[in-house]
Amino acid sequence: MKIDLEAIEETAKLLYIRALKVLPDDIKDGFQRLDASETDATGKSILATMIKNIDVAEDTDNLLCQDTGIPIYNVTIGRGVETDGIDLKDAIRKGCARATTEYPLRSSVVHPVTRVNEHTSCGHRVPVINIDFSDQAEELVIEMIPKGSGSENGSFLKMCIPAEGLGGIKTFVIDKVMEAGGKVCPPTIVGVGVGGTADLCSKLAKIAATRPLGSVCGDPEGAKLEQELGRAVNSLGIGPQGLGGDSTSFAVHVEIAATHITMNPVAVNIQCHSARRARATFKPDGVEIGF
């Protein structure tokens, strides 16, 4: 399958705008689940407003949240896909910039030293474009995630040592959820990376934070941690917006990687309740848009 770069550019633009407007069904279902079980009056009222906002955004064809985030494009290339990597990345970048200038969206991206905003949502190494491969034949997938800064600022890494054990990992997650409090726009998805190197561990936490609700860690030990941490986080009483309640998080997601005999790293990356994603799947017979 040969990739049409104009279609990639158009789709990169469309995905950014769509992700900002329509929440995935798994997140909407997550809200219904939390709303049904929330016992705190303030928490319940905040959840009701969040649910109303999802409807208002769709009814008025508006963005869910003012934060257009840092744009992230996760590209997964299947077998038999023919494309030039540099041109593919360039087309995604152009689509991202066009979404910003043509819609127009707030460009939330600045140079880290000069703080100059190019008003394109682009800059050096941004949008973040992650490339991976799959054994799916004749298929290219682009997932777009506008990652909000309130929750991205709730990112933490600790190079625990083996003597701290699993207890060190669990304690770190609980303490960071407490430290983040209402700043990360709860209810959240708490992404936890366990193992790997420092950079891989942080990347795992991001993958975990942006996984659909209902998905489970592929490793049985990771899946067990998800259950334990999920219950523990929601027992703290932080609640929606950090103003009290049971609904601190939709879920805790864990991703793991093997690590060194001397290492026990843990990373936390948090996704806010506006857990936005959009996905395009390119196949020989056309493009399918979803979540």
Binding site: M50, N62, L63, R115, M178, G181, V233
Partner: protein, 203 residues
Amino acid sequence: MADYNFSMPCTEDDIRKLRIGDHVTLQDTLFGIRDATQIHMFDKGRETRLDLNGHAVIHTAPNVKKVPVSNSCPAGYQSICIGTTTSARMERFTRPLMERNGVRIIIGKGGLGSDSAAAFKELGGVYLAIIGGTAALETTWIDRILDADLDDLNPESLWQFEIHDFGPLLVAMDANGDSLYDAVRDTAEERRAAALASMGVDT
């Protein structure tokens, strides 16, 4: 817990009667302010021509569209999506914003810290919690963008909005020095050991 309706600007007396848990709905005027706006105002000595005395500011950097100046867009900007951001980053600007510019109300998400609580108590101010991530709804409470000062910082300009029925917003920090966030943090700290014990971790 009482409900209030304020036509802005308001007075110190209006503010001092508010208690955490009350709700306030604002009318008429609201200003938008952000990290860069305040870094330039308080660290780089820039002045604004806008009068914030007795007013409310919301921590925001909106999505706007540049359009020709008209009655509905007097500043040449049409609002697209306006919501809030995490307030904690702007903690150190609360006092100068109140002392130098006379601001009475700060609106945002996630709360402010002890320095802001002290400034609210001493100078007569409150923090109103608006719900982060619900900007589509909040945009419907904003009628027009009246002005944009320090606009080279766009989208972190100092914005003046014309509003109607902006709220109800929860009084989360009051001029008594009380904070709903402190109460939630205390609860979480009390429950921390039990949460860890439930996972087999001793503290």
